[in-house]
């Protein structure tokens, strides 16, 4: 009996007293926000998280009523929470949007096939139409077959390039005006760090933009740009949202892992570091003389997609794969190899179907007033 009493007293004496929520001051504080250090209750946490995304959307004037919006859905935590929050905000603030789920199947066994099951469940749970597009049908190659040819060092380049095109094509098939992806603050901060580490000036100037718009591509935005990964996970946990959570089997070798580990250590030392890095990335200005050397955008001669060169990256990579010169689009030696290969591209090489982009909406935008 005494032992129980002593343990209880130690428990009370050593543990921190419960605190009321800093916002509503009524319920008990359950979450300490990494972004602000505020200690708030669960309902207030939902509200601030959702409202901040709403503010991100309205400040950047991302949408207008009647827009058809495709949510890039992988079944993972970011895209599942994104679908849920987009649906919630669309209803709460009357954005007037038509929402779709768009999923890309890269053909990674043991990873993508499982996560697609989650997306199909999301389709039911959120009542949104779903389209799945696969690398197999678009390019004739799955990531598994690419890795068996290319190895594990440069395979992420293939996946990223192919996925970007696949999302645009899927969105065009759905006739949407806009694609949203679940990239969160951690992702963007990692990208800024990666581009600095690799000296990639061209990407550094572009990577913090919340919305990318090309004349020949569909607008693409990141409503979670300022949302911390930790908060997305907590939101999903408390709302009991269904998501798939395994790392891509090829990711342990990816370069991004270095940036991520570094960022996590920075976050542990000072949580605001993530937002600070994004803000630094936003204010980078590239010197005029460097800007002048950047390539002008054109369209790919072979498939019609946007490109910095005569052949777009995806077509270059695909040609490399088809001809057994896998590093064609990636290393300098590979590029030379491709140029010196006997003769022009053989006639019967598999190519990507022609892509024609027809903008479905006028450039002029109406601001959605926050209610």
């Amino acid at each position: 009996m005494l032992a129980i009493l002593i343990h209880y007293i130690e428990y009370i004496g050593r543990n921190m007293p419960p605190r009321p929520c800093a916002l509503c001051e009524k319920a008990k504080a359950m979450v300490k926000r990494p972004k602000t250090g505020q200690q708030i209750c669960r309902d207030c946490f939902f509200y601030v998280f959702e409202t901040e995304v709403h503010n991100t959307i309205t400040d950047a004037q991302l949408f207008k009523p009647g827009d058809r919006v495709a949510i890039g859905a992988s079944g993972g935590k970011d895209s599942t929470v994104l679908a849920y929050v987009m649906k919630t905000l669309n209803e709460r603030y009357n954005y007037g949007l038509e929402l779709f789920l768009l999923s890309i199947d890269e053909g990674i066994t043991g990873y993508r096939d499982d996560s697609l099951e989650t997306v199909k469940r999301n389709q039911e749970q959120y009542s949104m139409p779903l389209k799945i597009l696969s690398y197999e049908e678009l390019y004739g190659w799955t990531m598994d077959s690419i890795v068996s040819q290319v190895g594990r060092k440069n395979n992420c380049t293939f996946c990223g390039v192919f996925r970007r095109q696949a999302l645009d094509r899927g969105a065009a098939m759905l006739h949407v005006d806009h694609i949203v992806t679940g990239h969160n603050a951690d992702d963007i901060a990692e990208t800024v760090l990666m581009n600095i580490m690799r000296g990639d000036i061209a990407r550094l100037g572009r990577c913090t933009a919340i919305c990318t718009q090309g004349e020949d591509t569909i607008r693409r935005s990141k409503p979670f740009k300022y949302a911390y990964e930790k908060e997305i996970v907590m939101y999903a946990y408390f709302k009991k949202l269904d998501y798939f959570s395994t790392e891509c089997i090829y990711s342990p070798d990816a370069y991004r892992g270095h940036a991520r580990a570094f960022l996590k250590d920075l976050e542990a030392a000072r949580p605001s570091a993530i937002i600070d890095i994004i803000h630094s990335g936003e204010v980078f200005e590239i010197k005029e003389e460097i800007k002048a050397t950047q390539k002008v955008q054109q369209t790919c001669q072979r498939c019609g997609y946007m490109s910095s060169n005569a052949l777009c990256k995806a077509c270059t990579l695909l040609e490399g794969l088809e001809r057994g010169m896998a590093n064609a689009g990636i290393t300098d030696r590979g590029k030379k190899q491709l140029l010196q290969a006997d003769g022009p591209t053989p006639e019967n090489l598999r190519t990507i179907p022609f892509f024609e982009f027809k903008p479905t909406s006028t450039p002029e935008r109406i601001v959605i007033e926050p209610s």
Binding site: E10, R14, S251
Partner: protein
Amino acid sequence: MASNPSAVTLKIEFGGGLELLFSNQRSHKVSLPATVPNDNTTAIPVPENEPTKPADVTYLIHYLRDHLLKERAELFVENGTVRPGILVLINDTDWELEGEGDYVVKDCDEIVFISTLHGG
């Protein structure tokens, strides 16, 4: 109150992929001694004549690593605490509000470890 005052029974949950390190099982039940060595060594039974403290979350983390973790301890523990990127909830409350590793566990507490380190 606990029927056995010298042990504390806890419900442990793993999420976000962490369960893969723990025999692919999300839920575990763990029984810790109420009083444990200061240096977090996890031999059971607790050796006598050593400086002790009441069982806290730091001890729990060491215990999980030593007794339940099947592989790749570096994916769970780093520098005596959980790896950065792993969220810890104590009875559904952020552990930062409860003193993190210093929180003294009591019987029937539920501790959840969620990894955020995977694709979205």
